[in-house]
């Protein structure tokens, strides 16, 4: 199946998901074309010229950074000119802004957060999760000869090896951009860098109440761990952003990741699943965190925490 991959970049850096998209595209067996939409596409064309890529499409636009209307207009034109059967975008904040719109406008098939794809008798089948990742589903696209897929980051290994694809310049008319990039705001640095910690004690919604946080902060100190958390605690304002693990927080890879009361949303798992040893305590035996944990315990986290306090 002929695949069109849309490269993603932010602040001058190619996003790693791009090379994963190329791997997903290669697995479909057809030609792989990679589009680089940027003010200066040549800044990224070498990085995406990896083994298995047939052609690189360099689309020069006025904007430095991602904007929905700019990307959507360019990709619509590329689809019309190149007729890919599958258009692969990352399941990322950028693609969420225009991928579904492309599908709605062009009447294509659509699925997002896809972690497996294959061809079955000429038709595309994608796999994705439902219901808090407790259930997987095979998704088909009857009647569609073109499908837009948003691919889960880290689901594929990045493509590697030097490529020999030619670069074709594609010119697109300037887009009337209705949502314009103005500025960047950095994440507050915070008092710790959880990405360099060897041992993270990470707490989630299961701790129940803000008042309980201090107990886990003390436990982390006693155990020689750094305290981190999943998103809900940051949303609630209990813990600063700098300590958040997950897609919208930090990606961490400590030697030991001890997760207390974290159910394991996909976005959280993406930020910690490559940790050396993952130990998870949760009251729900079906919690998704147990799918990536090396050691698990179905138990009340407060009871376990109390016992840990005695030991450290």
């Amino acid at each position: 199946m002929k695949a069109l991959v849309i490269a993603e970049h932010v602040r001058g850096e190619l996003r790693p998901v791009t090379l994963e998209l190329i791997s997903a595209a290669k697995s479909l067996g057809g030609p792989v074309e990679v589009a680089v939409i940027a003010k200066d596409p040549s800044a990224f064309t070498d990085a995406v010229n990896v083994d298995g890529v047939h052609e690189i499409l360099a689309v020069a636009v006025e904007q430095d950074e991602f904007e929905n209307d700019v990307y959507q207009g360019a990709v619509e034109q590329l689809i019309a000119e190149r007729s890919p059967q599958v258009v692969l975008l990352g399941f990322t904040v950028g693609s969420m802004g225009y991928g579904p719109a492309l599908s709605a406008k062009l009447g294509t098939g659509f699925a997002s957060d896809v972690f497996a794809v294959r061809e079955e008798g000429g038709a595309l089948v994608a796999e994705r999760s439902f219901y808090g990742a407790k259930v997987n589903g095979e998704v088909e696209f009857p009647g569609h000869d073109r499908v837009v897929l948003l691919i889960r980051p880290t689901a594929w290994q990045p493509a590697e090896g030097a490529g020999s694809a030619g670069v074709t310049e594609v010119s697109v008319p300037p887009a009337a951009s209705r949502a314009r990039h103005k500025d960047w705001v950095e994440v507050q640095a915070g008092d710790v860098d959880i990405t360099t910690a060897d041992f993270l004690l990470s707490v989630g919604r299961g701790i129940g109440d803000k008042e309980n946080l201090e107990q886990f902060q003390e436990l982390a100190e006693a155990m020689g761990a750094t305290l981190s958390s999943s998103r809900p605690l940051v949303d609630a304002g209990w813990i600063p952003n700098a300590r958040q693990v997950g897609q919208s927080g930090k990606t961490v890879k400590p030697k030991v990741y001890l997760a207390l009361g974290i159910s394991g949303a996909v976005q959280h798992l993406a930020g910690m699943k490559t940790s050396g040893t993952i130990i998870a305590v949760n009251t729900d035996p079906e919690a998704a965190i147990f799918n990536v944990a090396h050691y698990g315990a179905v138990a009340d986290l407060f009871e376990v925490a109390e016992e840990l306090e005695k030991l450290f």
Partner: protein, 252 residues
């Protein structure tokens, strides 16, 4: 100030799961239902906009059968003025593009100043309905908004990227914004408000032409566990002791 907020009743699974006979979905008996978490933040944001403007209306929309009115009632109890529920049997298990088509006509007819959706629903996690809806309405859109300041003919919003980096975006309005958790603190509905919400009007509409579905679930299944976690047995003390051993061993 008229804000349309699109809400969804989501299902969550407990410890057990069974599938429907055609295996295309989970047996509803195994699901607990609630207002989607992201949508409660979107509803709160809509209410704040109406309150800041001093007048206006918040209209809650949902696509779902009669049972889905529970989630809508929650949005009404928080303070939405009225609700519209869109339904036909064709929408059972529909993909997000089809849901957006079902919403588009009704949202368009309301001519809102702003349309807010949750970033994603917790049960399907497609993060797609809002952007598809914007396209069908030919409106600008920003996905994953964590801050919203309304201007004259435009809004300045924070778009939260991976890693927590924030893109400050100026978006022309009317627009569709998908709202991220943490943007505000959703208010609790008081018992009195919940009672009053029972009296609020929920209009029921049939969707217009839906077109071909963008996707169809062929089969759902419980994922293979893989190697899975080695489960630690015993009481809390035994588990804690084993954790201590593991930490000592793995930290070397």
């Amino acid at each position: 100030m008229k804000v349309v907020v699109c809400v969804k009743q989501v299902g969550s699974l407990g410890d057990e799961v069974e599938f429907t006979d055609d295996e295309r979905d989970v047996d509803p008996d195994y699901l607990d239902y609630a207002l989607n978490e992201w949508d409660s933040f979107a509803t709160e944001e809509a209410l704040r906009l109406r309150e800041a403007a001093g007048d206006g209306e918040v209209v809650a929309l949902t696509v779902g059968d009669e049972d889905a009115e529970d989630a809508m009632r929650r949005a009404l109890a928080m303070g939405a003025d009225r609700g519209i529920r869109i339904w036909s049997e064709d929408l059972a298990g529909a993909d997000p593009i089809t849901i957006a088509r079902a919403l588009a006509e009704v949202v368009g007819a309301e001519s809102p100043d702003l349309v807010l959706c949750g970033v994603q629903s917790s049960d399907a996690v497609q993060a797609a309905t809002g952007a598809a809806l914007a396209e069908l309405l030919d409106l600008p859109r920003v996905a994953v908004v964590t801050k919203l300041e309304l201007g004259d003919g435009s809004a300045t919003v924070h778009r939260e990227l991976e890693g927590g980096l924030v893109d400050v975006v100026e978006v022309d309005t009317p627009a569709v914004l998908t709202i991220q958790t943490g943007i505000n603190e959703p208010r609790y509905a008081t018992l009195r408000a919940i009672k009053q919400a029972e009296q609020k009007e929920i209009e029921v509409r049939e969707p217009g032409e839906l077109g071909a579905p963008a996707a169809r679930v062929r089969r759902m299944f419980v994922p293979p566990k893989g190697e899975g976690a080695e489960m630690l047995d015993g009481d809390a003390a035994a588990i804690a002791a084993r954790i201590k051993e593991l930490v000592a061993e793995k930290m070397q």
